[in-house]
């Protein structure tokens, strides 16, 4: 029995650590992988990828003045923003990416809240909901006048009535207008 104890203990420890690692690697329900973007020659490029650790620290900054905003921020697990300047070399690729992402979201059961194609702007807003109580993920895709493409993914536990406020705090224009759309 003594001879078996150490290997059994080691195997238990190993399986726990592997299990934990496996669980940690599981993507969150509201997470969408946009893929890798590379800055185009001479073009604009912005990439922000912030996870829960930093968001909670940001929440601490505002906790005293705006505790409700801090509470909302704490519910966010991840924020990813990509802004890519569109030029003749990457326009087709970016438009295809937007189309593919939207098709995938439709297939995965995301709720399409806004699809607006105006003269110069093509906007899509998708939500991953958990019942009526919470939004697990938000995806915003924008092709703006052939000048820039915007991809935004917010992952977390967000109340639907707080989405417009989230857009306000994170300066995401399509989300700011979302309050009215959701009420419809």
């Amino acid at each position: 029995m003594k001879n078996l104890f150490r290997p059994l203990f080691g195997a238990t420890l190993l399986s726990l650590s592997v299990g934990t690692g496996f669980a940690a690697d599981q993507p969150l329900p509201g997470y969408v992988d946009f893929g890798k973007f590379t800055p185009a020659a001479g073009g604009e490029f912005v990439e922000v990828n912030v996870n829960n650790n930093l968001i909670c620290m940001a929440a601490k900054f505002v906790e005293k003045q705006q505790p409700d905003v801090a509470k909302m921020l704490r519910g966010i697990q991840r924020v990813r923003v990509n802004v890519i300047g569109v030029n003749d070399q990457n326009r087709a690729d970016l438009e295809q990416r937007v189309k593919t992402i939207r098709e995938n979201l439709d297939q995965q059961g995301w709720q399409r809240v806004v699809t607006a194609v105006q003269a110069k702007e093509d906007v899509g807003v998708y939500l991953k909901t958990r019942g009526e109580e919470a939004v697990e993920g938000v995806v915003v895709t924008v092709i703006d006048g052939g000048q820039e493409a915007v991809f935004i993914n917010v992952v977390g536990d967000i109340r639907p009535d707080k989405l417009a406020e989230l857009g306000e705090k994170l300066n995401i224009e399509p989300l700011k207008k979302l309050g009215g759309e959701l009420k419809k």
């Binding site: 490029f45 990828n49 912030v50 900054f61 005293k64 923003v81 705090k169």
Partner: protein, 207 residues
Amino acid sequence: MNSIPPLEPRSTASRRWWLLIPFLLVVAVLFVVSFACYSLPGFLHVGRDAAALRDGLLKTASREFTPMIEANLGPVTFWAVRTGLGFAPLEPEARLALRAVRAAEVSYHQRRHPGGKLDQATMLADADTAMTARGWERIVGVREGDDLVAVYVPKNLRSPRDVRFCVAVVGTEELVVAAGRSNLEPLMDLASRHGDWHQFAQLSLPR
């Protein structure tokens, strides 16, 4: 007739005590010199994380840049600065801000031929690879015109009391890698005293 009492011989212990002083002085000088020799190079080179970022950026662009200067100010140096400035008349906010900084490093390189095109996409990808191998992740990458800025933090960042970060700036004429370590709690305290700091939570996107 009274005889003159013989002089008492000096105790050997007190003689040995005087002999120790020059010996201790030599030991102290040797210690100071050794400490200086050991620590001085550390002031002139960045730490391993900043060095990894620097080397990642320069992997394909080392011929484009000339290293100019590196500096490394560690916790002991900042402690000495804080202690020294403790006697100086400083605003409370300045003292708070000084408490926030624990260490700082910088590596500055100059472009050999300013104005030429750089493959910043490859530089950024190589830097990402190097930093990911060290357990860091890029949280911000911005390219506007010819300037590239990237900010990295450790993946396991937990406490605002010990925040490490690395920043890289690649311009047309220079490349700068900076790293730091800070305690954000004094800054949070400073922020809570001055209103309108909710903008810290905002991400500024181009309209």
